[in-house]
Symmetry: D2
Amino acid sequence: MNTFINNQIELFQEKNKNRGRLLVSCPDQPGIVAAISKFLFSHNANIIESSQYSTNPENGMFFIRIEFECPGLKDKAKEIEEQFTEIASQFDMEWKLTHVYQIKKAAIFVSKELHCLLELLWEWQSGDLMADIALVISNHEEARDVVEGLNIPFYYIPANKDIREQVEEKQLQLLKEYEIDVIVLARYMQILTPKFVAENPNKIINIHHSFLPAFIGARPYERAYGRGVKLIGATSHYVTNDLDEGPIIEQDISRVDHRDNVDSLKKIGRSVERSVLARAVKWHLEDRIIVHQNKTIVF
Amino acid sequence: MNTFINNQIELFQEKNKNRGRLLVSCPDQPGIVAAISKFLFSHNANIIESSQYSTNPENGMFFIRIEFECPGLKDKAKEIEEQFTEIASQFDMEWKLTHVYQIKKAAIFVSKELHCLLELLWEWQSGDLMADIALVISNHEEARDVVEGLNIPFYYIPANKDIREQVEEKQLQLLKEYEIDVIVLARYMQILTPKFVAENPNKIINIHHSFLPAFIGARPYERAYGRGVKLIGATSHYVTNDLDEGPIIEQDISRVDHRDNVDSLKKIGRSVERSVLARAVKWHLEDRIIVHQNKTIVF
Amino acid sequence: MNTFINNQIELFQEKNKNRGRLLVSCPDQPGIVAAISKFLFSHNANIIESSQYSTNPENGMFFIRIEFECPGLKDKAKEIEEQFTEIASQFDMEWKLTHVYQIKKAAIFVSKELHCLLELLWEWQSGDLMADIALVISNHEEARDVVEGLNIPFYYIPANKDIREQVEEKQLQLLKEYEIDVIVLARYMQILTPKFVAENPNKIINIHHSFLPAFIGARPYERAYGRGVKLIGATSHYVTNDLDEGPIIEQDISRVDHRDNVDSLKKIGRSVERSVLARAVKWHLEDRIIVHQNKTIVF
Amino acid sequence: MNTFINNQIELFQEKNKNRGRLLVSCPDQPGIVAAISKFLFSHNANIIESSQYSTNPENGMFFIRIEFECPGLKDKAKEIEEQFTEIASQFDMEWKLTHVYQIKKAAIFVSKELHCLLELLWEWQSGDLMADIALVISNHEEARDVVEGLNIPFYYIPANKDIREQVEEKQLQLLKEYEIDVIVLARYMQILTPKFVAENPNKIINIHHSFLPAFIGARPYERAYGRGVKLIGATSHYVTNDLDEGPIIEQDISRVDHRDNVDSLKKIGRSVERSVLARAVKWHLEDRIIVHQNKTIVF
């Protein structure tokens, strides 16, 4: 089956060999778009898609995401990056230039409940999630068969709050070894230490099984049932050191009613969780997200 | 315009002169449906619609809503009620028998923002909200013109937390005078005293401008903006003495994104608020709601 | 993995060994609910859930679905069925009494695109789709690995319109051999003959990749793209001999915009298709659907 | 009440006195964004929001919408337009430059059913629909009171298919007299002649009460009921000479079930119709829509 995936990746890379993406955040002022677009034009890059957003006409922030075709991008990439630093410093930009043919390397962390992992693997097999899923790490054995069946390395690392540091040391070691770009917590259910989070800023995507900020923390479906809500939801967010308080990437809900007990809420919720997480991961992989002041701009 | 409404009400009453509704809550046990349906059959009542729900096969609660046609209901109603008490006491029922031709009398409380009031008035004018809107009470003058333009009495009662008791005395007096069955807080924005709430159990319907339990209390849109949520919502609930903690009747949400500032959240939210409140009020008017342990069963 | 499934099935059967479901359609008249509920009570059956619907007070049709607990159902089932025929003939009922512990046997037909099959298999593995998936039939080999990996028999029967009858003969033979109760066309993409359909009335569930009646027939996503719609949808329906005209069980949609080309419509559509089909199949398995005059009542 | 509206309009105009919008469609090629943004920068215009879309990297079409702040726009507008023609001809652009302080003049056509008209009037009163509603034309008298109550001129022009040309002559005369920019058919229910349509290309917005292309033409709710659909919808589109075939601007749906008869479908549908039409009209007023080959790009 990996042959199939590899073929898809190769096709994708070939199709996107000249495709680049530029993400910029900076204080707003006239002339930014002119400077960027002139720069890209001077490198024969054609802007394919561009989205811009400014927080406020006066003294605001400027954000842009540009996707462009640039003949020979692979060879010119380094030169382009170097030359762009001049514009970047002129406008005081935070920026990132990515090359679409460089598929991002992802690690998935999972616990006992597999629905979010399965959704990601499935989208990946269908070619709808363009990542290199380099490894799966779990504190349980439930996912081993399906993961190894897809020729993805599976690491079983038992975890609990008493051995958190040793566990994370092993995990960080693996992330380094596999040169991981993005970590997806697909219902991992373990709290990460500030050290782990600090080493991976805006790189850890979590799914929380409630429409945050409702039901922060443990057992959200039980609490939703107790409150008698008519909608249950899920929230995907970047992980920060404030539990369930990181920048929200995506949320969605599903309607429930009085007949639904905690078990049915969980069943219904699974569908919401997996689609919300999958969308968030895809947007991250496509460089659609800029984080600013604990919020996301999703282009 | 009220002539039009009166015609609609008369037509509705004529069409429903034999239509009754029975709502029952009691401990579950075999034979309840048999007893009720035998009873109705013995009064020549034909069951048109029936919905039942039990919390749990063993030691659970039983809830049912039955809508029936009973020739000559108007004349037989009292007799039926009296005879039903026997079954009711046998099964330890809480119950209510309503006659659809007896249109419920509603009072609407409103403050400065009129969108929820306008939605209710509009649905009412279209014949989609079958109530007798007996009066509108407000602590501001903004609604007077539109309310009086529809020949509905409008009472301006200035309110603030220092004169809460005097204000509520006047309000309770009016509710009594107009024989009000249901009170709709259409963005009234004043907290009611425990005394007021206690006199109107499960009769006060509020709209809160967030998907509860997120953003309980004041300024929910400002806080939603601050948190960077991707969905905003509204919740309609019965009022209890715990602020925004009463039984939820209906909730809905609308998608928002990073471009929406507090003002756009409010604009988008208005649409959600008005449809959520209108649905909740309609379900109440149609006797579709049973409250049990701070939750609603909506049949 | 099948061990896991078998465990879940056994647990489910044990939990539901006394659970029955009664579905009734008949001309409406007073006394039906009384007769049924008295009958069930006389067999010590406790009604757990009941939903009723009548098309019209006068000269209408009456439909009811009752779920009940009846101690010793397994042994009494035959006797109950026999005795119910009396009531059934008195009220001219079409009816069905099912025993929840008798898990339905399903056959899934699939072609090259596997997303709907995978969704069903996955829900089944999670214990959310309580069926005995007895076999998978396909005119392609794509699904073999995943199906056989779950220890489900896979039959490869090449098909095209010239050999339709021979193909269906083999299929019908297999359906008989495995005693199949329900056939799910999970994007099978072959038209069935009137003979095949006639042998399986209201037993074949199809998923069509559009919100019917828009885009009946072939290539709906291409046509949706051509028309510039802002929503794409999927429809699950029972198969009749009028192409895509059978009774609709469930529909849903997803929002799209001008940036979505045919490929993205297909990707987005896959999510809708799989959830719509899964819901329809679950409702069928739970005996929630009554077909009347080419429409469904879904309780 | 018009005083209130006038205040809102004046505030809006003052706030947006320097705000412009540029809409461009042209064959795609490198350098377009660079040329436009350099041009705007040379006039001291700061780009506030910009959205771009290209149909295809090679030989495709390029579309952009730019919203900008330009100090002294009112005085410089003419000069800017003149100078832009050079760029426009260089890239073979279709383009439009609008000044936000120039509020668009709208005519609303309505028949007997007022819900869509009422929604528009209400959003307008709330300041959420920034247009000058210059007149309402109807072939019935139902809307007169509410329209004149808001000090909007109301014209009663009886219409039927036999006198279509005389009727439209009067209508066109009024549109000219009031210098109308956009015509909203808020359930007008009369077919327009090719002459009328030709004089107002991409300026007539209709609401059709189905999710097109399902149920084109008359009595869509009756047909939706007949088909047993589980979703009903509404579609707003620009009017062309092919009935219900014009470019779709917005669509939405609402869930229905077997209990809904034609009347309830209509009630439920009204909510969908009014929100869909209101969104479409707002997007048009905000110059968010580009029409290309019978489809819309909505930025």
